[in-house]
């Protein structure tokens, strides 16, 4: 499970039920100070049980760095971090290998890896694998901050309930993942209701990157959209992504969609930001804005129609256990981590492009 950026390379390893999970991140320069507490705070945002948004409780994930840090300083080598898996249940998934859960990886995984897919690689299809992604993103975030770059986000929609107001530097400072707390309370109520009904909800996350220099990225696959997309669509349950006005832009005319250039305080800005801060794959100095659509959690208590793969006959499936009825609140820092990685990759490249011969 590798992501190869232009300057950074991320490898995520392990499975939800293996001894440990972790990540190796190559390309971070030597000499970077890493604040481990700040990193832990970032990781804790992904952990369950921290807010009214989520009910389950669990110990925090604490990464151990086995390579790439000397004290708190990067050595320039590949950074490897490992998280031990505390509760390693096995056998839970045997039933799903036979009767796949709708909306889950069960069916294609059992075809790809065989009936014992959960041990053979299928255990990597789990939200748990976003923890290593957050470690990598959290490391990049510390480099970005030193460059004056900020990554902010909010839940813009859950179960059809929209957040109200605009996300920006000041509204992002709240501890809540929404701008409007009334909207937030309605979202929480909707999650509680869906759970009680044995059902689940999806939603949309908005993410912004502030403080970008102009000209990060490049043409075609070097563009910021392409880099962010490769990471964002690697997050489980993501089914859609757009930048700025996005799908709505497809319905506008050029005269409506183009963002006029203005001069403000001696700097070039755009009047509107329908391009989401990206022109020709490059940052234009305005906030980079994108939206990520998450499907509703496929694990629901309601009975569903599935297939007994052994007998090849249709059957009814009931999934027991407690399930997170909406992954969106916990996914917010994961989306940020994807942005952290993509932007840091582009920023590091920007510097490398200069010819050393001049």
């Amino acid at each position: 499970m590798n992501w190869n950026g232009k300057t950074l390379k991320l490898s995520v390893f392990g499975q939800s039920h293996s001894e440990s999970i972790g990540m190796t991140l190559a390309g971070i320069p030597a000499g970077e100070q890493i604040d481990r507490e700040e990193l832990q705070r970032f990781l804790d945002r992904r952990a369950p049980g921290r807010t009214p948004w989520s009910t389950a409780r669990k110990e925090p994930d604490v990464p151990e760095f086995t390579a790439g840090l000397e004290g708190d300083c990067t050595t320039g080598e590949e950074i490897t971090a490992v998280i031990r898996n505390r509760d390693r249940r096995s056998g839970d998934y045997a039933a799903f290998a036979r009767t796949p859960r709708p909306g889950h990886a069960d069916y294609p995984a059992s075809v790809k890896y065989g009936p014992a897919w959960d041990n053979a690689g299928g255990g990597a299809f789990s939200g748990r694998m976003t923890a290593p992604l957050c470690i990598a993103g959290g490391l990049c975030l510390q480099l970005l901050r030193r460059e004056g770059i900020q990554v902010i986000s909010r839940i813009s929609e859950i179960g059809g309930i929209c957040d109200v107001g605009e996300l920006n530097e000041s509204t992002a400072e709240k501890s809540s993942p929404v701008v409007d707390d009334t909207a937030g309370e309605r979202m929480i109520a909707a999650i509680v209701e869906a759970k009680a009904a044995g059902d689940s909800l999806g939603g949309i996350v908005e993410c912004q990157v502030l403080g970008l220099p102009v000209g990060l990225g490049g043409p075609l696959f070097d563009g910021l959209e392409s880099r962010i997309a490769a990471l964002v669509f690697g997050i489980p349950a993501v089914k859609g992504l757009d930048f700025g006005a996005g799908f709505e832009a497809a319905r506008l005319r050029g005269s409506e969609n183009n963002d006029s250039f203005l001069v403000r305080e001696g700097r070039v800005v755009t009047e509107s930001n329908r391009c989401g801060g990206i022109l020709g794959g490059m940052s234009d100095g305005m906030p980079l804005i994108f939206h990520v659509a998450f499907k509703p959690t496929p694990s629901i208590a309601l009975p569903q129609r599935s297939v007994d793969l052994e007998r090849m006959e249709e059957t009814e499936l009931r999934i027991g256990g407690r399930h997170d009825p909406c992954v969106v609140p916990r996914a917010v820092p994961v989306v940020e981590a994807a942005a952290d990685l993509a932007v840091c990759d582009a920023l590091l490249e920007g510097r490398k492009e200069r010819s050393p011969w001049n």
Copy 2:
């Protein structure tokens, strides 16, 4: 401008005004027969002036293969193809380096590459650079066809006018890029109207991949969504992408969005296809479906507000010349090419994963 798949690697080179443009594609196995005429027909779909959908006329782009083919057969080495640029205008862009066109790469490119950005790399921010992408996709397509895989597409929306009916194997066989010809005529009329008004239109392309084996792709960044996204967002003017129900899925409940499994003719299928044929990043055997949002062409004849970068003052910009008022019709094969590359990459990897030791 490189795309690094898991097994395929694509490098696109040149600029719209350089002597030639082209591509190098690494990873295609040896011994593949390439039908050059079929490839040319695929490339011709991108060329302007072929249909009522587009007005300008131009000679076709004919690639010359300088490496990787021996006769019509791949050698297993990197394949390099070159297209000579016939009309190489220079100097057209000097004005835009000073007064950037809204919605274009002009402004960030001039910051990144300097005022002479058009010669220094900025010439790569051009729809013309999708021709090499189509060469690469067209080569992959020939491998896919031998495996029984088909890539089909249609314009699902232009300027807010939606195509009617369902895209499938039979509706795709028409020469028209829409399912419903009446809708198509309305789209053409809208394009003509927008052009007359000095304005432009955006739109949405739907693409499907049929005949995929179950289990292509993998967890996280190895997933099909991530691979397709990295390529699709590399196409100029793309601002959104979603799979299956996509953004709409974010508003559904789990019980509404999950696709039930059924047995039909001894095979596992899903009753609906809201997941777009992808579960856990892997193909589930149903049609892989995605939608791509294109913004309206930023070059419009209407006057726009911009900035004179030399004087740092606001100014009005009028763009002369003839411009394609809607890139969507020509973008259809480009979207297919992106899908061809991503799927071929996953298919080749699928085979490589097996341990040679068993």
Copy 3:
């Protein structure tokens, strides 16, 4: 510190004085059983204090696998192994940063990394870093054995004293690193004498790979010589490498050097093996043979002429402490590890080259 093979990729991390050292090896297929005891026995051969060939004593290096193994079975992901450094002296090297030891990395390291080079990366210029290389080689060795491939070696020369007799499958089975024990005793005596004199010795290691299928490798940089060389010259103190008759072949005529083809027991063999089992970069089915020249340990007790880099004036240097007067005995398994990696890389590639489409 990365080696990129065609199918395997090795990253070695850490420094002799950091908390830990280790390696990440990518490309080993899933499902390989690893015998940890066998691996440890291989690593112990590199450790000092095990034989009369070396005097110092130390605890063994025991690797901890933090990723890539589930139980004793490879998962197909990157394998990361870490060795904790038990005695981490610091400050020993400050003097050498000012007055570099002749024959050592001290001088260029202090120019490259600055006066504090020992902490800033210079600590990687140490024989200790061959331990991770041996982990990687020891893993590959287990795969090779299952394919009937054996890697054997001997000290063919130390301080001008040559081993007698021929290295082959039966002479390699002895626990001694030489074929002729009398020669071995003379080598040990020479090492003891050099040490007493405050001096050091170099030597030559011969390595053979037996049981190779015909056709491994390929033209130019894909050749076996090129792959083995990139790894062997990565071992500290190596200054020469040749294959088969090697430098001697440069003095022979074609009629003397060419190995005639014969048929023996229905198989094609060569009468002699001056090509070292490699023709055109590919294995020819005969033993692959190469020789590696190690320079004498540069750390000697005798006074040497050096330069005080601060004052920029010449000075006499006396190096205290106990030093291994000859690295050759401990280098034998390291040379084997290099061969293990190179051959395993070629073997895995051999299988991957086949078109999956046929």
Copy 4:
């Protein structure tokens, strides 16, 4: 046929009998001026028929650049150059596929690629494939010169006849490939004699890199020896390589082999240069020196013993046609090209290592 440096990547394509051969070189920065005439002069040194050292005559190889150059200036993209093969004989090799030439790739190639190996990839086992390597090296050479780095070389031995005198900046300026012309005449006479006898000769090339900054390279596989070795052993017929005192160093004591540091004209130098200008894998500012052993040309007119692979019985082989009785004179610029690439790769990396964040 790829070489992956740390910053440069070279892909050589084609076969001796294909329509064209060529190379793609990635990693050369944008904005480098390429002097095409100087490049051609470098390539001409490899071409036959230019000196008394070689008899055959042929048209020069003129590369066509199909990508990566705009005018004479590099664009920063991959550079592709193609040489058309003028005389494409086919069928010559069918006999050798059945009765392999001793010392040639014929036997393993026929096992690896099948009886039609000459068309299926075996045609890449040819000295002709060093022409693309020289294009790549010749490009790098132009970058090195601008940095004050020079690559010089000489034939130090042919058929046991040694060149006399020392290679250095002034002796390298002669048009002859030896320092001592009397030795050179004896070498030519030996080649003429060997040819008349239906036999062939091998030899040794010495190569030096002058003007290197201190600290290029790094530990383990990042070392200069490892990088140079991977390229040098990619040259057909190379069987040995050593640096500085090389194999001879293995027979010296530390006190004899260590190079004392001195101060001369305010700079640190070494009194001797037995380390070949490399300490700990890094340049130490003295001339980098290495020697390359070439085996005698395996194609000889004298009858040889081989095997009829179809009947699996031993037979006598007589090779007709004219053959170069000694490849060493033509190999001199190829060895330089390998050095050019390795050193340019290290030099570019040296600059990239600096953290962009400071």
